[in-house]
């Protein structure tokens, strides 16, 4: 808590939980428009590969989207011809161990663990990891500025992950 201003905009744990659960549900249920609307214009959606601390500008990631690429990803999913998600995976995730870890500027930084079971005709895949969220209070409600998902198996060969994680 670096300043009075930060305290004014910071989110409490209950607000963080409510947002994180909603974001998880929208992703699980392929509510693409609802999920996309959660993001700020300066969004970063990041799933590193090979370990948690790579430089995403110089190293390849599974996902490293800015707002524009999030839009492209969602538009591709909505064509119905994104075959890796057509038909879409059935999935449910449990998000837990939520902690508010700090404030950066106007953003509240929170972390959580997740376990996600994905099923499609190919088979069932268990995904798990730790997510860092940066959440911002705006005139339109709480918005997501940053989501980093560190998979427990990020250094291993992964199956296709075309859904929203």
């Amino acid at each position: 808590m670096s300043s009075v201003a930060a305290e004014d905009t910071a989110l409490d744990l209950r607000e963080v939980e409510a947002f994180v659960y909603r974001e998880a549900r929208l992703a699980d249920e392929h509510d693409y428009d609802g999920w996309e609307a959660l993001w700020t214009d300066d969004a970063v959606y990041w799933v590193p590969a090979g370990g948690p601390d790579i430089d995403p500008v110089k190293q390849v990631s599974v996902v490293y989207d800015n707002r524009s690429r999030i839009r492209t990803r969602i538009r591709q999913l909505k064509t119905g011809k994104r075959y890796a998600q057509s038909p879409p995976s059935n999935m449910r995730r449990v998000v837990s161990n939520i902690e508010v870890v700090g404030v950066e500027g106007a953003d509240t930084v929170a972390e959580a663990n997740f376990v996600l079971v994905e099923h499609r005709e190919r088979g069932t895949v268990l995904w798990a990891g730790r997510t860092t969220y940066r959440l911002r209070r705006t005139e339109d409600g709480i918005r997501l500025a940053y989501k980093k998902v560190v998979l427990v198996n990020s250094a291993d060969a992964l199956p296709t992950m075309a859904f929203l994680i």
């Binding site: 190293q59 599974v62 492209t72 060969a157 199956p159 296709t160």
Partner: protein
């Protein structure tokens, strides 16, 4: 029962069992993966003496090291004592490896250094047991290739005309060298490796499998493979093939179109290339990077480099990284960004390709019809000025070249 490859591989069709029969897979390991030249990595991954990275050739766990003499070594990750792994880390820097089980040590050339409590072996220096080494190691444009055969065609002979495509890639760097230093995305597919290899230069699928992303991004890639395209599919011999898109890029006539951009976005790079190549720079900047499948496992898709590694008859890992052009930092950032958007488990292209590989694997298990058809464009195939077979942009000329070489290798007498 011996498999009769001449029956399973015919000029215009191949048998489904080639993708599903575990006996054929076991035979492929012996006759292809542990014999011919297989790409394992790039020298830039082990830039300094002592650097090492873990690699795989099919099911073999390999340590690629650079020893103090600057040489590239490919060692099998197996202690000579009881067969334990001597290297657990994925990468690092060390002049030696110590087996954690009983403490035997080896230089990063594979040579034995020592063993604890040496009186049990009659003293020091009594054992001469080294790490296994891949018998033949060679490099071309920095790509490191392994051959488990003591003898056979040289790497240069194996690469043949594909070498020119690797040259064409390296030429895009203002220093004439590429680097593979952006790390690897490793993507697991429940599919036979040959479905991946055949797809890499299949110009028939992009408009269908990738229509979704072409539509939303307004990409021109689909038209490069359309029926009106002047691009060609070329059988480069020895199982190598390419989609040669240069005629289309020449027709468009603008530098950097191949990279989906314009020269004003990369003034430093373009200036460096013009200073270096003079009049030839325009051709290089217009024609761009190759789209080539080097038999059996190295695929270069313009900006991305893939290495295909089979684990089982129905399981394959495709590793991919961004091409990095030495001396072009601003290009390299965009290369990483474009690569991430396109390839890997969430890539807007490769996730859909991989979905197709996996559905294809389930499909070929079907009992009827038994064959996969590879005749597209046979009637319009021609021989180009260099003596290579070429078909239209979306013809199956590349697949036929692959199968011809595959059959040769599978029918050859096994040598040492």
């Amino acid at each position: 029962m011996t498999v009769q490859y001449s029956e399973l591989i015919q000029p215009e069709r191949v048998h489904g069992s080639l993708y599903t029969n575990p006996e054929i897979f076991a035979e492929e390991l012996r006759r292809i993966w542990y014999r011919t030249w297989v790409c394992v990595g790039h020298v830039s991954e082990i830039a300094h003496p002592g650097d090492y990275v873990r690699k795989q050739v099919a099911t073999q766990d390999i340590i690629m090291t650079r020893s103090s003499d600057g040489e590239v070594n490919l060692l099998l990750n197996r202690c000579a004592h009881r067969g334990n792994l001597v290297c657990e880390d994925q990468r690092g820097n060390s002049s030696s490896f110590r087996c954690p089980y009983h403490g035997w040590t080896y230089r990063n050339t594979g040579e034995m250094l020592g063993y604890p409590y040496n009186q049990g072996y009659g003293g020091k220096g009594k054992l001469n047991l080294n790490l296994g080494r891949v018998p033949r190691v060679d490099t071309y444009q920095g790509f490191v290739f392994a051959s488990f055969a003591e003898e056979g065609p040289s790497l240069r002979e194996h690469l043949g005309a594909a070498a020119g495509e690797l040259d064409r890639l390296a030429r895009l760097s203002p220093e004439g060298e590429i680097e593979l230093t952006a790390g690897w995305l490793r993507h697991r597919a429940k599919a036979n490796w040959k479905l991946l290899v055949e797809n890499e230069t299949d110009g028939y699928h992009p408009q269908f499998v990738h229509g979704s992303v072409f539509t939303v991004t307004g990409s021109h890639i689909g038209t490069l493979y359309s029926d009106k395209s002047t691009a060609v599919t070329r059988d480069l011999g020895n199982g190598h093939s390419e989609n040669d898109l240069r005629s289309e890029f020449r027709r468009m006539g603008k530098p950097m179109t191949w990279f989906g951009t314009t020269e004003d976005r990369f003034p430093d790079y373009v200036a460096k290339m013009r200073a270096l190549h003079g009049d030839k720079a325009e051709d290089i900047l217009i024609e761009g990077a190759p789209h080539v499948m080097v038999f059996p496992n190295l695929f270069i898709a313009e900006i991305s480099v893939f290495m295909i590694n089979p684990l089982a008859v129905n399981e394959t890992v495709q590793s991919v990284t961004a091409v990095q052009l030495k001396g072009a930092p601003e290009m390299n950032r965009r290369l990483v960004s474009q690569c991430i958007g396109s390839v890997g488990p969430a890539g807007m292209l490769l996730a859909d390709d991989t979905e197709m590989y996996e559905r294809n694997q389930r499909g070929v298990e079907a009992r009827r019809p038994e064959w996969l058809d590879i005749r597209r464009g046979v009637h319009r195939e021609r021989i180009d000025e260099n003596g290579f077979k070429v078909g239209a942009a979306n013809d199956e000329t590349g697949m036929r070249g692959f199968w011809s070489h595959y059959r040769t290798l599978m029918e050859q007498e096994e040598t040492k």
